[in-house]
Symmetry: D2
Subunit: 393 residues, 4 copies
């Protein structure tokens, strides 16, 4: 496995679902080696036929746009539209008369049950950044191109305003789109080999954290069987970050951090965030990190409330492999979660490996990589927004 010795990110697989490709153009040929992200544009290998529409849940404001969108995709674009089956339980949707008419023409999938691999050509998200995180979680390997709309309030991951959506979607379907390849982190959780088969089985906590067996169900579709008894490693792809924290314990956890096999530091504090550049503007920024443009091939490591005053966040090359373990002399265990999901305990002897995945999320830009990012910094984080200085007296 040569990747772990690399400091560059591995070259991303450039196929996105059955139809999406990155366009080859003359500029890239002239470029010596690197693929220039600024030239990254979407191209379609064949005409996209299937589209997955993901809408924000529990938000009444999104219902009308959602119904408009699927109606237009079915009737005008003659596309096959997939939705989550859970939509049928959403009363704000099912109460809509137009939706009733469309209902039979929709294809449904059940999360954690139905495999979408190779079935989806194109994804449209409607709502907040969470829709894109959810889309990312559905595709643990190649992700089809994603076009994400917000409804009034710009998000980091949802650059398109819904107004005049027909023209914008048509444009993208015709191949006119700049792409940001958002790198993801491949997280592998390998449990300590248990000698006692009955010990330490999964459990449901009163706080709604997912039990270990429950995770096995979810990930079995893509990652094979993950239950603890056979000790296979569990894999998770994250778009924002993987978080290791002290959980409900009032005490600090001591976590050992290794990079490419070298023990680089011990984390003492509330926890540790390992994030993609995309995730640098999510939880990491709240913990004090600098913001990294999503096209920088890097991994950000940010401590949460560290006890050391000098534990500043660091940025390492995308190609390194991190390993995280509970320190042998730590009194406490820790908890780990992946893009805020699949929260579970990390025990002594367990090992969490993190490196950049070859499967990025191809996210379609509203304008271009630079403008989209700085607009979202200003709108979402009020970055450097202030009163202009008046002349001094």
């Amino acid at each position: 496995w040569p990747r772990t010795r690399s400091l560059n990110a591995p070259s991303p697989i450039q196929q996105f679902g059955p139809c999406g490709r990155i366009m080859k153009n003359s500029a890239m040929v002239m470029q010596v080696q690197d693929q220039d992200p600024a030239f990254q544009r979407l191209t379609w290998y064949k005409t996209p036929l299937t589209v997955l529409v993901i809408k924000k849940v529990r938000d009444v404001a999104v219902v009308i746009p959602f119904v408009h969108l699927i109606e237009w995709l079915i009737n005008n674009k003659r596309m096959v539209v997939y939705c989550e089956e859970a939509v049928k339980d959403d009363k704000s949707v099912t109460g809509n008369s137009k939706f009733d008419e469309l209902q039979d023409k929709l294809m449904y999938f059940r999360e954690g049950r139905d495999d979408l691999t190779d079935k989806i050509d194109f994804i449209i998200c409607l709502g907040g950044d969470g829709t894109l995180l959810y889309a990312s979680s559905l595709f643990q390997q190649s992700v089809p191109p994603v076009m994400a709309f917000h409804l009034g309030s710009l998000g980091f991951l949802t650059p398109f305003l819904f107004d005049n959506f027909e023209e914008k979607v048509t444009n993208v379907l015709e191949g006119n789109a700049a792409l940001t390849l958002r790198s993801r982190l491949k997280c592998t959780l390998k449990r300590r080999q248990s000698t006692d088969a009955t010990a330490d089985t999964g459990h449901i906590t009163s706080n709604g954290q997912v039990s270990q067996n429950g995770i096995g169900i979810h990930t079995s579709l893509t990652n094979g069987s993950n239950n603890r008894s056979n000790n296979s490693p569990m894999n998770f792809l994250v778009l924002n970050e993987v978080v290791v924290d002290r959980g409900p314990s009032p005490y600090l956890s001591n976590v050992d951090l290794f990079i490419d096999g070298k023990h680089v530091t011990v984390v003492q504090g509330d926890g540790l965030i390992v994030s993609t550049p995309t995730g640098s503007t999510a939880y990491a920024v709240a913990a004090g990190a600098s913001m990294i443009h999503p096209s920088v091939p890097a991994i950000m490591i940010t401590p949460i409330c560290p006890h050391s005053l000098s534990f500043r966040p660091i940025v390492v090359p995308a190609g390194v492999e991190l390993k995280i373990k509970i320190s042998p002399d730590s009194r406490n265990t820790a908890w780990v979660s992946f893009d805020g999901r699949n929260r579970q305990e990390l025990h002594h002897g367990d090992a969490l490996s993190v490196t950049t995945s070859v499967y990025p999320v191809p996210s379609i830009c509203a304008q271009d990589q630079i403008s989209d990012w700085f607009d979202s910094l200003a709108d979402c984080l009020q970055w450097n927004v202030r009163k202009r200085q008046k002349t001094f007296d």
Copy 2:
């Protein structure tokens, strides 16, 4: 000029002086496109014959090691050794009897007068990080491989301990060395076209800042004539950072920042640091930046004491082009300096462009890229160094 539209760093020129090359190996061939920094190792195209030795100035402790080194290089390795002519004025050196014997065998150069391009195969630095910054400033284009020794106190740029130097230098001369390609920033200062030829000529300030005409002398070797009257742009390559600050003015300057032609923000505060990853651990870290490993292809933008609470540092892809100008409505000018040198005023209408250079500094690792960096974080910045937590009572 297609580079300004690129988000990737331009591919570095992989020739370092007349002899230095990066070794081609089978791993790189298998690699699809990217050159993997972890496989970067030094190779010599032909046997290095000339070596430039740069020693820390005004430090008596460095004299004995310096004389030992050049004696060994001349007598044992039969190399041609270059030194600064200023060494002959250094009484702590000239008082050394061994140096007296060697003196006639040395080659001398005068900074700002003699062109070293294509004359030097190899560089050895002796002392602190400043020696490497100085070496960088001497080579405004291709830089020969640099091996940098510290004397007791590890630096970010000086990973080798001097003990047993003979074996270490021999090893490198035989081609056994890992390399870090430290990207540099190409800074281009274009003065506003002056309509009045007599106005605003260069001047010497009482604070030792370089006058504009003085800069012309220095940079004329590599950059052609830079005096203001003919308005040619001046070029500077920096290894750490270019700093724009308010200078002696008590008032904030308003500085406009553009990225790839887009106006992204106004800087109000003491100033702005644009740094390489190498420079992220220098001035930028003191201004609050996260630390970036030198192999991440990125540019760091860090405000100095910004008036806005939300002006967090940001990291952008190495290939973007920044432009910095005084805001038209700013009452004040600003000052700019390049790796702490060539300090000069930035006037209304002047434009400073910054982008990643194709000429990195090939810096030889003592161990490897990851170990060298984390060791220097711990030693130089006490990064996350603290008492281990005792068990709680």
Copy 3:
């Protein structure tokens, strides 16, 4: 010039120009006069007879010093020594033969059962900062003077080295001691009036958090009955901080913060720390706060991983009253803990009030207020500890 030895600000001259004065009113007259903290020294009203000795639990290294200390207090000083009854269950102690002999001469108390008010003249802590937090929790009103020893590793709250303890304790018992009055925060948790008596009763969580009924037991001694059914407010005195956090919820909580009745901000993020100056060097400093000397009469408000880049910590006068409530439109509840103890859920409609208590912890200085604090900053936090800059080359 006596002012230089004072820690209080000089009283401002209260005449402003020829006409302006500050209005005298009755409230001011009732205010008793403040004391200069630098002159604060301990005096004994009558000779102290009873001493409470608190030792760090689960630390074998503390056993021998503990036994030495109580032996000396009983046999040489003829004092009545109180210990926790739990000591009798600590095998590392009971296995000690000298302790066996002393055992019958000790007085025991049970936490949460026996009221120590007016029974203890003097407290000696042995171990880490936790011993002093525990001592503080035992005295919900007036606290006897506390002398705290560390065993090798200096703490913020444990300034005395144990070596030569006999001389040091004798000195203090003779009244030679500088005092730091460490302010505490009085936290009052008032539950929303429940209309349904059966709803929302206390519960034990699997994570060891204290149930609400359990708290009732603990606080009933000093605060009256606190169980939810009768809705009496619960009181807690904290020496470090009260923390409101999102608990196990992956979502941000929205918490409203009021100061003296004015709604000043909404906290969005992982939580909020309200700390004393003493607590500013505990959890607050990890969350980014500045450090405040314990003699500054102030309350520190520090957000934990706030989503707003501009949510910097603030310091308000010690006399304000804070009120914290879950925002009516928040989807989530929050959790509150007091010096890391008594963790419990904060529901919609509950109100947490925080203000400075009239019962500080009188903590005996090893040297003086300034020296003790800066020594602990350097030792515990490595504050501004670094390599001295070498001369530049």
Copy 4:
């Protein structure tokens, strides 16, 4: 329960257990009693007759309000109005026809020439925060009550909106006003005793920094003769901060910091800010400090771009005395400035002492101490201003 309206901490109960007391001594008796800042209200000893009006310079927008104000004060209130003589050189003012009529009824003073002590009953500022800093500099001892208006853009020091000024000023003149006593720092600069009378005399730098002799003129009115030859210490009262920085030198200065005679740390970096709580929201906040309410009796110490990652700002009691000196082994000198004025070099052997002055600035609140401060945090610093979180999808 009167405590909730108090900004002071309640006086601690000074009995600690049955025996412990704080020793009463003579120093404490001399201490006059502190007042609760929340009850601080203005009263007039006799009816104010003279008013100093300070207007922002070089701002055309302020001219009309300024003329309205002085017209109303002279004609309606029959007050004696003082202005700076420089107003007569301000063409935007002298061009105003109404001002022409009033001109002869005004009293003028010349900064640095005329002593205003005991001549002014009341001060009105018109414009930005700089007007209040200027007013503070005019009164090196007792300061008359200050009422400060902004014109549209709220400042930290200018809480009143100018609309309907007649009613607001009348209210204050009638004694209806809450006061914030803003502490100032008394800075004493004592030059090293020069053995060579000709060495190191004052000089004018090309950057407009004030020469030492120039300062002598300014401060001679209040502080006696300050010229270097007789080596008398110079005194400056600052409302915001005293700043020690490296000036134009590219090298770090090493500055020794002493508190109450104890050497507490060495400052390496761009400099050091010693600020009042009022100044915590000025330069200090830009350098990373927490914000302190102006009624907290404290001094804030904030490093500027420190080289140590762990050099966090600290807050010490208002009554300590700081001393700042260039470290004996520092290669460089430093520069010092006082509220941005009187900038001058600090040489080896010079000593700068800083402590809280007994002469605060009595600043009149628009509402009350808490509301005014939080309003200015939000308006001036956008403190925690952000989009409210939307419900999550």
